[in-house]
Amino acid sequence: MSKYLDLSIKEIHELLVDKKITPLDLVDEALERIEENKDLNAFITINDKVREEASALGEVEPDNIFFGIPIAVKDNIVTKDLKTTCASHILDNFIPIYDATIVEKLKENKLLIIGKANMDEFAMGSTSETSYFGTPLNPHDKKRTAGGSSGGSATAISGGLVPLALGSDTGGSIRQPASYTGIVGMKPTYGRISRYGLVAFASSLDQIGPMTRTVYENAALLNILVGEDDKDLTSVKKEKEDFTRLIGKDIKGMKIALPKYFVSDIVDEEISKRIKEVISFLKENGATVDIVDMKYLDTAVNLYQIIAMAEASSNLARFDGIRYGYRATSFNNVDSMYEKTRGEGFGDEVKRRIMVGSYILSGENAKTYYDKALMVRDDITKEFNRIFKDYDLIIGPTTTRVAPLLGTSKDDPHKAFMDDVLVIPVNMAGLPGLSVPVGKSSENLPIGLHIIGKAFDEATIYRLASFIEEVF
């Protein structure tokens, strides 16, 4: 069996340019790997036209290193003519007639969408166990979660099925699975990447991002995903930049903050220990690392539960069985059609969040909870900005523990949020955050370092991440 997919993107690209291999070879290898690792449940749908698309690619463009490379796309990103389910029964027959803006970008750059990656239903969950299509497994230990909600994307990269994947991150859904599976996952600044075609969970928090094996490949993939989009008013216009430009630079003089909360007793000892090792390494290499006090970080999970659920309850209202998706078969009137369609179409976690969200927005609650949450959210942003006046980056562990065993968090919905306690504050402030592997635990499970940057300063995050990646 060929092993082209284990090579770096640069190496694969050279082989393509030298005509030693074709995109079809890569696609066939990926399909073979997916088939061999079917038990990993990384994909919901395989693109049955991908071989055709690979054959039709034409001449390689030497300046585009992604030409002909297979990529996995999280199944909440709409793909024209390719089923997009959001891992939900309610959309299990939904074939979009339009592409998400980033899917258009993938196609322009001649990447090949191998299939749609498994995830938590509507991205609601931390272990991908809420998927209607089975749970993706952690390739490092199949009894353990690959994290969530972008669990399928993480599994696909970590299991070596494909070298590139897209995820989405509303409250850590890229970074936490990246940490659990030992890959690189970036949630860019809110507004960096168009959300047009990303099925909305919590509109003010959702952001698409790249998930890859290496920091360089992550930054390079981000290069082609970003940009203002007329179809998404929340996307932001920025000068074009090369996110790989600071990779390879040393870290002398870098000023890094470590919030106390990120190394408090909520974090497993083994992980705290690893973070301390990372800190010593950074100091040895000329960076300063200061432990700082930051307010409000511990409120982020509560804010998330209010803001995300409220927005979700409204965003998911459109799934009513009228225009697309699943519709219950027997009903007497419109109300019973809604009830049955949504009752049968959504899973428990989604229903729970819709109910909580509806309650939060009802009557006076909107003021008591939602409006107040927005105010505290502003305070978190201010708190981050205060730290960023003196520091280039903020670091900490991505998760409080290594990937937990499957089946352990399903019974306690609240506890599941605790997997995201360290990553959620970043969504609240709309900042970029990345998880990069920093070795493994005693159980041989990956540990991730979380690097948070200033708004639109992804390049500095990549600089530090690549420096660490070389060593850990």
């Binding site: 919590a202 409220a310 409204s314 209202a317 459109r318 927005l361």
Partner: protein, 472 residues
């Protein structure tokens, strides 16, 4: 027993004229084939996002201006959440907390008394789709989904049906003249709901809402009927319930649709997909630049150039003719004669051929020369009547037309005098009748003059000269 005092407030929805819809690029046009002006945004497909059509914000600003409202400088949109099949996303994007305009008024005059009807707010929102029920199935036409609306809400300060009608007439005239809306109630581009309550003291009574009344006349009727109904209920010791009613124009009564249960809970929150809009002075000035003269400004202008109030109202009621006449004011001519001509022969021609004036060949230059000829007597009113089709349908000048139709009106006084002398000699009986005070004789004699001259003499001139000769 003291009298009940009615309190009435109106909520008016008007469809805004624009090329495309409020939040998508679909065409905003009435009367297209079912479901042809629709895209994935209008249908609320997963992952789609709203974009804001700036032209509609401009229209909103114009509406603020003509309705004397304060313009909100920093505003956002809100989601109004409710399930209904005609509501594609199951939330409507509207403006709840920051309506574009507040604290305006419209001045009306009823029975010679002027009154300001206060407008509490005007806001921009999207229309729903249109549903039709056929037996056991319901059909949906999404052409209307996302069509821009302005909702105009009055203070509860209207006292009776007459005032309501005067307000609506004025509102319609203003919005129509400002090119904001067609305001066609029969096509649904203007819709009115009336809130009515009655009370004997300072405390307001329980109000009912009568929805979607189909004409201004019916609004007046519905309000009077609803006041009478409520009086009867209260006089019989009944209680008024908060309810939604409709007006049945065949029965001439308001009819109960549904009793309102606990206050509607629309779970409003700020639309996260649309950033705040900041309205600059420049944007406002730019928007108002294209605002045409409004009816009251026209009335003042027209009365200054000597038009009668009847002529003024007729002109204002005929928008195309009014706009044409406004253009004529750039030329020097007798405007009263011009308006007479426009409202008589020209209007009959237009009505007969179902045309608007801009579709004819009646250039301003041509109209001015017709008026000159009428003034000099070279053309008679009868000539114009005979020539009207040619005037409107071809590019010949008046001189060319006169030649073609062999019109050579006699302007030579000596010639007319000779004819008059001849008529007086030949009709001594009628001359005597005239001298004995029979006015009819004058008409007969005048007829004889016209007959002798074959209608080629200016009748007014001839009539003046005849009278002079008879009175000698």
């Amino acid at each position: 027993m003291s009298e009940f005092i009615p309190t009435i407030g109106l909520e008016v929805h008007v469809e805004i004229k624009s090329k495309s819809k409020l939040f998508s690029s679909s065409a905003n046009s009435y009367g297209m084939a079912t479901n042809t002006s629709v895209n994935v945004v209008d249908l609320g497909y997963p992952g789609t996002l709203p974009t804001v059509n700036k032209e509609i914000i401009r229209q909103g600003i114009r509406a603020c201006k003509v309705l004397n409202c304060n313009i909100t400088r920093k505003m956002h949109f809100d989601r109004k959440n409710y399930f209904y099949p005609d509501n594609p996303k199951n939330y409507q994007i509207t403006q709840n907390r920051t309506p574009i305009g507040t604290d305006g008024y419209v001045e009306i005059e009823v029975d010679g008394i002027k009154k300001k009807i206060g407008i509490s707010d005007i806001h921009i929102e999207e229309d729903t789709c249109k549903s039709a029920h056929r037996g056991s199935v319901s059909l949906l036409d999404f052409n209307r989904a996302g069509v821009p609306l302005i909702e105009i809400v009055t203070e509860p300060c209207i006292s009776n049906g007459k005032e309501a009608m005067a307000y609506l007439t004025k509102l319609k005239e203003l919005l129509f003249y400002a090119n904001i809306s067609d305001c066609k109630m029969e096509e649904g581009s203007m819709r009115c709901d009336a809130n009515v309550s009655i009370s004997k003291d300072e405390n307001m009574g329980t109000r009912t809402e009568t929805k979607n009344i189909s004409s201004i006349h019916n609004v007046g009727l519905a309000i009077e009927k609803e006041i009478a109904r409520q009086e009867e209920v209260l006089n019989n010791n009944g209680i008024i319930k908060e309810e939604t009613r409709r007006f049945d124009d065949k029965l001439g009564e308001t009819i109960l649709m549904r009793v309102k249960e606990t206050g509607n809970d629309y779970r409003y929150f700020i639309e996260p997909d649309i950033p705040y809009l900041v309205i600059t002075d420049e944007f406002i000035n730019d928007s108002l630049k294209t605002l045409p003269l409004l009816p009251d400004e026209l009335r003042e202008k027209y009365s200054k150039i000597g038009l009668s109030s009847l002529q003024i109202e007729k002109l204002i009621n005929n928008r195309p003719l009014n706009d044409y006449f406004l253009g004529l004011l750039e030329f020097k001519t007798n405007y009263v004669t011009a308006v007479n001509l426009l409202l008589s022969d020209v209007s009959s021609y237009l009505n007969k051929h179902n045309k608007v004036i801009t579709d004819t060949h009646l250039s301003y230059e041509k109209l001015v020369s017709v008026i000159d000829n009428l003034e000099s007597g070279a053309l008679s009113n009868k000539n114009v009547k005979d020539l009207i089709d040619s005037l409107m349908e071809n590019d010949l000048t008046i001189e060319e037309l006169k030649k073609e139709f062999k019109i050579e009106n006699i302007t030579d006084d000596r010639f007319i005098e000779d004819i008059i002398t001849k008529v007086i000699e030949n009709n001594t009986e009628s001359v005597n009748d005239y001298k004995n005070g029979h006015d009819r004789a004058l008409k007969y004699l005048m007829g004889q003059v016209m007959k002798e001259t074959k209608g080629t003499v200016n009748p007014k001139k001839a009539s003046d000269m005849l009278k002079e000769a008879l009175n000698k």
